[in-house]
């Protein structure tokens, strides 16, 4: 336990916050709950993206496709009479399958080439989804009546966020996480040490896209209406990438901090028309500032601040004990 605490000093804070989220419906107002729902949604997207983009360093700009697959699967199956909850695993499976189809060719590319290819894949998916008949085209689809239950959906989203974080933390501790880290640092070195890099990347892609698809399904149930404009929205796919980057790529806490920042930004953006018109300035400016000054994001910034502060005695002693 103490080893775990030393690795993740923010763990108690996180657990306390998780408990707060779970009990929020007892005392919080509906507006607050909506904001917390949105934050949990963002945590799932950011933490899941981070598994491939942060840990393995494979920056993908095409993740809104998986939100879309999850959302469309839920609506289409619910229209066929399924319970929305039962549609979630189906959406996850479809998204994972699609992630393999996309990953098999594109994972042969490295670094920025992979990133550019994912822009192409995202564009292609959006064009095709607006052209297909059963997706309702650009006018979108509505959930059947009687599927709306905010409290259940709230618990679903918060639970999914916690499961995602625990899963990512667990994977990070094991050989799988080390393999991802090795791929990020030096893919040839990783291969030489016996890591099947394509397979590991495909697995990470499948896990993260399945999580994102489940979030997409819950999104569809909560908003009751989806269209290519809402689930394949440029701002959404931008947010998915920016949250972990601004928070701190390849860390556990980074995506959570990023998700908090961006859900706060979203509330502010929705509240003020002037800000809403300049969200690209804010997003682009954040990206530029982070890339120029601290590519490790908020987490890197905090690390730097902590290194400046005089170290507390107790901590130094504890570390000396740990080392000795």
């Amino acid at each position: 336990m103490s080893a775990l605490l030393r690795r993740h000093p923010l763990l108690p804070v996180g657990l306390a916050f998780g408990a707060f989220l779970l009990f929020a419906p007892v005392f919080a107002e509906r507006g607050t709950e909506n904001d917390l729902w949105n934050m949990s949604f963002f945590v799932v997207l950011a933490a899941a993206w981070n598994l491939l983009g942060g840990f393995a360093g494979q920056v993908s700009l095409g993740y809104s496709a998986f939100v879309g697959i999850g959302a469309y699967t839920t609506v289409l199956l619910a229209k066929a009479g399924w319970s929305p909850w039962l549609t979630l695993p189906v959406g996850a499976a479809l998204a994972a399958a699609f992630s393999v189809v996309v990953g098999l060719p594109t994972f042969r590319l490295r670094g920025p080439y992979f990133t550019i290819a994912t822009i192409g894949v995202g564009e292609a998916v959006r064009v095709i989804a607006s052209g297909l008949d059963f997706t309702g085209g650009s006018s979108g689809l509505r959930m059947p009546p009687g599927t709306f239950d905010f409290t259940a959906n709230y618990y679903g989203m918060v639970g999914l966020a916690l499961v995602t974080l625990v899963l990512v933390a667990w994977l990070q501790q094991h050989a799988f996480g080390l393999a991802l880290e090795a791929i990020r640092q030096d893919i040839d070195g990783a291969e030489a040490l016996g890591v099947n890099s394509t397979q590991v990347k495909l697995q990470a892609h499948a896990i993260s896209s399945a999580l994102v698809a489940v979030a997409g399904g819950l999104f569809a149930t909560n908003f009751q209406y989806i269209s290519p404009g809402s689930v394949f929205d440029f701002r959404l796919s931008l947010t998915i990438v920016l949250m972990p980057i601004v928070g701190g790529m390849g860390t556990l806490t980074g995506p959570v901090l990023g998700a908090m920042l961006f859900s706060y930004l979203q509330i502010k953006l929705l509240a003020s028309p002037a800000l809403r018109d300049s969200y690209l300035f804010i997003y682009g400016g954040l990206l530029i500032v982070v890339m120029l000054f601290e590519p490790r994001g908020i987490v890197g910034l905090l690390d730097r601040l902590r290194a400046r502060l005089p170290r507390r005695r107790t901590q130094a002693v504890a570390e000396a004990h740990g080392a000795g």
């Binding site: 920056v59 670094g111 290819a117 192409g120 095709i128 300035f281 682009g284 890339m291």
Partner: protein, 301 residues
């Protein structure tokens, strides 16, 4: 047969524009090993600048390039001096960091256009926009022909600069081997700034020309960025001839696919994405790499 000739001519006309559009990306990649994602935003901004000049001063879009291109050359130098210069230099390939930085620049440019001109679709109408010429039984739009002419002129001019001047030779030297160029007394930082300016100016020329052919919004340019990237990958990333060949190949495939198959027009953009992924996966060295591989195989026999 007649149809074939007409489609081939159309492809050729498109290829000129494609080459201009891609060369800006290629020169920046060559000198700095950076993929300029802001290229699309720069093309969009130049399209708006051309439109604004046409709207205010009734300046012909093709003449306005004489103003827009130099202005964007300076803008590119400024971007280099304020942002790009501070990026850590990556040894092998382009870094994710530079890619994301320029992605941020693209977003800022988009918002700039939204803030100044709003989100409405704009287009430029000139007296010759609807004119066309009969040739080999096909109709060719006058703007398309003008765009082709200007593209060829600009590419020939650039080629002369690259081959005949010290600056051009220095750019090619840094592209081929940065360290060796520096050892021979080339100031690589200065060359990079100039190359970023040239790349931006070519994006601007492409944007001005695109504005005579297409309607545009601040979101304009994404599919053209992907096309340009596809072309420079086809062309082997850094050679001048490679870009021209890549542009021809993409233009011919696109035009022949839409003329001889039943792919709907809305999916036409998907051709370049698909080709991009196929080429990146099957022939990472582009056509030159493929050629060398085949050549070696023939020689081995």
């Amino acid at each position: 047969m007649q149809k074939f000739v007409v489609v081939a001519l159309n492809s050729l006309l498109a290829a000129g524009l494609y080459a201009t559009m891609s060369y800006g990306l290629a020169v920046i990649y060559g000198v700095m090993r950076i993929i300029n994602l802001a290229h699309a935003g720069l093309m969009m901004l130049a399209a708006y600048a051309t439109w604004a000049l046409n709207d205010r001063f009734a300046l012909d879009p093709f003449l306005s390039m004489l103003v827009v291109a130099p202005a964007f050359f300076l803008l590119g130098m400024a971007l280099y001096a304020t942002l790009i210069r501070w990026l850590p230099r990556s040894q092998a390939g382009p870094s994710i960091q530079s890619l994301l930085l320029l992605f941020g620049v693209w977003l800022v440019l988009q918002n700039l256009a939204y803030a100044i001109w709003g989100g409405d679709t704009q287009s430029i109408l000139t007296p010759y926009t609807m004119e066309s010429v009969q040739l080999f039984g096909g109709r060719f739009g006058v703007p398309q022909i003008l765009v082709f002419g200007v593209s060829i002129l600009s590419l020939v001019g650039l080629n002369l600069v690259l081959r005949r001047t010290f600056l051009g030779k220095a750019i090619r030297a840094v592209t081929q081997n940065r360290d060796a160029a520096m050892l021979s007394g080339v100031n690589a930082g200065q060359i990079a700034a100039v190359a970023f300016g040239i790349g931006t100016a070519f994006a601007a020329m492409a944007g001005s020309m695109l504005s005579t052919l297409y309607a545009f919004t601040p979101d304009f340019g994404r599919s053209f960025l992907l096309k340009a990237f596809c072309i420079i990958v086809l062309g082997g990333m850094e050679s001048f001839t490679g870009v021209a060949v890549g542009a021809l190949v993409l233009a011919f495939i696109e035009n022949f696919a839409s003329a001889y198959t039943s792919i709907p027009v809305s999916y036409q953009d998907a051709i370049s994405f698909t080709l991009l992924v196929v080429v990146l996966v099957a022939a990472p060295g582009g056509l030159p790499g493929l050629w060398r591989k085949l050549d070696r195989r023939v020689v081995a026999r």
